[in-house]
């Protein structure tokens, strides 16, 4: 049974940069943008000098920017030196794990205010080098020699899932369509376009150039056309994959007893869980991510909540199949039901279990170290009614974030609660 935190922790402010491709900016520039937005978001203000620790998720600035030891540099750039500054590296879960370290630091009683950051600047490298850098998150002795890539790992899970549950592969395309529909309403997203917008854009372009205008019956037909959506790793196509992105996000955590000094509406961290696993081949089932289930079980137990209590979730949809597996690993749907839920629109904004209202990694972008922190930005917006056109209806009280590193070697889950 998961223990409760020894003292409560609250989120009192959040911020993020726009996600996308920014040749003129470094990761520290992007973090400054996130930090400045965070400062604006703290209702009653705060003094950056009161920050006592900084946990920063970043996968590999070493390779992307030729820069290691990034945390103290970023701390200096936002003017919080000599605060204890620590970079967390757990592949694409770096941001979520940084959040958890911040939560545990405050719960321990050693500090009262923590800045959590996540950042990645990926687009300076050519595409093939990005693929190689991401592959560092896999086992270099026993997985990489086989010829695996990250799309390849998730594609392998997809073939296992489709085979085990006789799933309709169109469910993958439905996840992409849904997340792009949400991302089109998120001004911070890398892709502000629905799949239909992308499709119409291609037709318009052909028309303008005087070329034959390609015709597709609907978005599904468009996404099945290898000319518009090439295969990357069977059965995953380009639009099944999250993009290569630059971006940063920031969250301000304080101890529960001081939270209302900063805002009338703190968001409380009521559950936190993390789990690990070995290489993909070591697992007995390839159609699920066991560490995600274990991490979420711990978070639910700590929160005293069940999956049915969660009003919406931001999950780690690095690939469309990952979202389908996540909705089962987190207990929203039974095993083998996730693909049907995606087909039926149950994870859409107006569905029974809204997932990735921000657009998810797929549409919002996936600057890997930032993703786990940016999920909390969406939680903040939805719980405060600040999500604009993508705002969920009704009283949204409980939200969950799910951040995955590698193929599920690291999984971290948090549950948040609004009390007034």
């Amino acid at each position: 049974m998961a223990k409760k935190l020894s003292r409560g922790v609250a989120v009192v402010g959040v911020g993020m940069s726009k996600f996308g491709v920014f040749p003129e900016k470094t990761s520290r520039d992007l973090f400054v943008e996130a930090f400045q937005e965070l400062r604006q978001s703290v209702q009653k203000g705060f003094n950056p000098k009161d920050i006592e620790a900084f946990y920063m998720g970043n996968f590999t600035s070493d390779h992307f920017e030729n820069q290691a030891h990034l945390a103290p540099i970023v701390a200096s750039w936002v003017g919080i030196s000599p605060v204890a500054s620590t970079r967390i590296e757990d592949a694409c879960a770096s941001g979520g794990v940084a959040l958890r370290q911040g939560v545990l630091a405050i719960a321990s009683g050693e500090v009262d205010m923590v800045l959590v950051g996540g950042l990645e600047k990926m687009t300076d490298l050519p595409g093939a080098k990005v693929t190689d850098a991401l592959a560092l998150a896999a086992d270099s002795l026993f997985e990489i020699p086989a010829g695996f890539t990250f799309p390849g790992f998730y594609a392998t899970m997809a073939t296992a899932y489709i085979d085990q549950y006789k799933a309709d592969p169109d469910a993958l395309l439905r996840v992409g369509i849904k997340n792009h529909t949400n991302g089109a309403l998120n001004e911070k997203a890398q892709f502000n376009q629905t799949i239909k917008d992308v499709m119409l854009g291609k037709q318009r372009k052909a028309e303008q150039k005087g070329l034959p205008v390609p015709q597709w019956e609907d978005e599904i037909a468009f996404l099945k056309d290898p000319k518009s959506n090439p295969m990357i790793a069977w059965p995953l196509r380009l639009f099944d994959c999250s993009p290569v992105s630059d971006g940063a996000a920031a969250v301000l955590l304080v101890s529960e007893e001081m939270a209302e000094k900063f805002t009338d509406q703190p968001i409380y961290v009521v559950g936190s869980g993390q789990a690990s696993d070995g290489a993909l081949a070591e697992r007995t089932s390839l159609s699920e991510i066991p560490a995600a289930e274990k991490a979420s079980k711990r978070a639910y137990e700590m929160a005293g909540l069940t999956p049915e209590d969660i009003d919406f979730a931001e999950v780690h949809d690095c690939f469309t199949i990952a979202e389908i597996m996540a909705t089962e690993d987190l207990g929203f749907f039974a095993r083998g039901e996730g693909w049907k839920a995606a087909m039926d629109g149950r994870t859409a904004r107006d569905g029974s279990h809204p997932v990735n209202t921000s657009g998810g990694l797929k549409s919002k972008g996936h600057p890997v170290g930032a993703s786990g922190v940016a999920q909390v930005v969406e939680v903040w917006k939805q719980l405060h009614g600040l999500a604009g056109e993508r705002q969920l209806r009704g009283n949204i009280r409980h939200a969950l974030t799910h951040n995955v590193g590698g193929t599920g070697q690291t999984c971290v889950v948090h549950i948040f609660e609004k009390r007034n």
């Binding site: 093939a128 002795l141 010829g147 296992a160 059965p235």
Partner: protein
Amino acid sequence: MTEQSLHSKVFNQAIAENQLIGSHCLVCGNISVPQRQICPNCHSDQVELIKTDGRGTLAAFTVIYVPPTSMVEAGYNAKNPYCVGIVALGEGPRISAQIVGLDLNSPENISIGMPLKQTFVVRGEGDAAKKFLAFEPV
């Protein structure tokens, strides 16, 4: 190959000699591939190296059209893709490997559960040539 060493590099050294090895726990009988110094089931260090018989079934797979640099150098690309998968060995453990000898023009016809046997492929030429574990249909 040093028979006694359980160090992690020994696995790929064995592949260079056309052998797929693992470890057998003398306490609980658990088999691991690649070999482990500590049994992941009972944590005993009383483990010995074994040779697997190199037979298994296809647990899951993909066909990769956008390869990493190492596979581009080995001649693969979108027009010449390759299959990689997870193979469930007869001894129990599963292992990642390239799967050769399949028709990649129609991946939908590749069937999970199909019996496979080990083979070894060489990628790279001259001094850069290196042997890798692979599987092929029986």
